[in-house]
Symmetry: C2
């Protein structure tokens, strides 16, 4: 019998996640019932949303997250052995689940077989550009920002999994794209490899001045991964009827929830310019999930979307990969290879 391991939430995060907040435990796998499968994780995802979203679940919950896993036992003919699935099964090496269950995991994301959809691509892409972050980029930009060719798009958290994808879709759609990221190396990658028009290092440059120079006529669309002062700065440089898609607020994820950080008020910058700003969860488009996967996979095949992964080896290093990603150590998608 395989020994399975999982990370269990032993303390809700307060401030920066600390090693003791999660506990790595071994557990025994139950026998399969009819309809169930046993899967073994190959790649696991670490994403910013896990930091705030985990607060919704009780102590004792397996830490939340998605994974690519191989079916190693099956009592479900639709999910045969050796196929791979994407499932939101948490930080666990093995899972027993019935994929036909209407709510098979705690994020209410139905597992699906990736074999046949993207067999020519690395399977880990199913956690990045051809998975949830890719769908977040696709729907969050196209549906919330309603972008048009010739418009100017600003992306914050631009070197992350979602940000780097959003900027590239912006270029595909014929936009002028400006990324905001946290190091010169990231900025160079955005401009040189991903063909962003400009990149601003918010740690060394004055964002307001740099943005005025990069977008002298103002910003039409802002895809926001960070929140806070950077977002206030961008909003005050937007044009009439600009659209803001709030995907994340990573600048405040480690903040004390009873004393959240303050930033320059946004309202005054949104009235006369009639700015529209909307937060979203990608689960809003669950019924159109495969539409975005197919779109992104096609763009990857055409060479229009370049994927970059920051891979951490070893399931036991999940926590390190997670906190490193929260600190911005990753380029593109942060994943863990079991």
């Amino acid at each position: 019998m395989v020994k399975a391991k999982k990370f269990v939430l032993t303390k809700h995060f307060v401030g920066e996640p600390k090693p003791g907040d999660l506990t790595l435990v071994e557990f025994d796998l139950p026998e399969l019932k009819d309809g169930e499968i046993l899967v073994q994780a190959e790649y696991l995802s670490v994403d910013p949303y896990m930091r705030p979203y985990s607060a919704r679940f009780p102590i004792g919950t397996t830490m939340i997250g998605g994974q690519v896993a191989k079916i190693i036992k099956s009592k479900n003919p639709k999910f045969p052995v050796d196929k791979r699935i994407v499932g939101y099964l948490g930080w666990t090496t093995h899972s027993v689940l019935n994929p036909d269950d209407p709510n098979p995991d705690i994020l209410n994301m139905k597992p699906y077989i990736i074999s046949g959809i993207m067999d020519d691509l690395p399977v880990s892409f199913a956690l990045g550009m051809a998975g949830m972050p890719g769908n977040t980029a696709y729907f969050g930009l196209t549906e919330i920002c309603q972008p048009k060719a010739g418009e100017t798009l600003v992306v914050s958290g631009a070197a992350g999994a979602v940000g780097s994808h959003v900027g590239q879709i912006g270029k595909i759609l014929g936009m002028k794209v400006i990324g905001i990221a946290g190091s010169d190396a990231k900025c160079q990658w955005l401009v040189n490899q991903l063909k962003f028009d400009h990149a601003i290092n918010y740690k060394t440059e004055d964002v307001s001045t740099a943005l005025k120079k990069a977008a002298p006529d103002g910003v039409d669309c802002y895809f926001d991964n960070v929140g806070g002062e950077i977002s206030s700065t961008v909003i005050y440089q937007m044009r009439l009827r600009g659209r803001v898609s709030i995907c994340g607020s990573i600048s405040s994820y480690n903040a004390d929830m009873t004393a959240l950080p303050k930033a320059t008020i946004v309202q005054l910058g949104m009235i006369f310019t009639e700015i529209k700003m909307e937060g979203f969860m990608v689960t809003r488009w669950n019924d159109r999930w495969m539409e975005a996967i197919q779109k992104n996979v096609a763009w990857i095949r055409e060479g229009k979307l370049i994927s970059r992964e920051t891979v951490t080896e070893g399931f036991e290093n999940m926590f390190k990969a997670f906190t490193g990603m929260l600190k911005g150590e990753n380029f593109g998608k942060a994943i863990v290879k079991v």
Copy 2:
């Protein structure tokens, strides 16, 4: 020949408007050309937008604003003597204009004759509930908030011209309405006369605690006249897919534009709840102007909308009425009677 008077912008406002920022001057009226009319102001409006919006116009401009004026000379058969118009002619006792001019005033609001539309109501209502503030309330609530019966609406600046109107439309539409205002007398007026369900005095109560009590299940729609910390507080108590209509940001109108105030970041409170927030100018619905006027006039006639005016006597007291309104001294619509 009548001696006309007007207030001219002699200094852009910095901080709180000061008496020397505007200068009262006498001027001679030109002879009428064909198509032109001479009008005499009867009531002038003072509104919050004048504070920030005046910054867009050069020194020497007649201070911006709307008025109800009587036609006292006419060389335009469509605009005969003794009819009354609403026009955005500025803070002036008399104006010569050609109402057929496509851009007859600096706010690009075409003057229109009010006679025949609301002859049974006080003419000053054309500057309030049956005018621009009323249209702001109507479109800003119905179009941006997309309110539904049974939902909970919060209005800030609730005792002002727009806020008191928005809350009453909320009641007409079957919503639970909570107003936020700056005195106990205002709160009592909102609840006792205007039939708001609750009112919160933000100067004496903790808004967060009071709102949790008044809306334990959360807020669906927020009509924002004030911006800043009050708005952050409301946003963090909103329900899934809540809508925020940003009409004004009066809490920051007197702020130093190079060092705007900070407030608790809003982004974190907008993601998982998927809040939509949009700023607007009522001019967006210029082509539907009369639709809202007719709707509001009908509700006034049915007794469903109660108007209250704070009237300052004397054209020379315009500045006093304006700064008093910015400080929240008015109940309902602040107007000046010439």
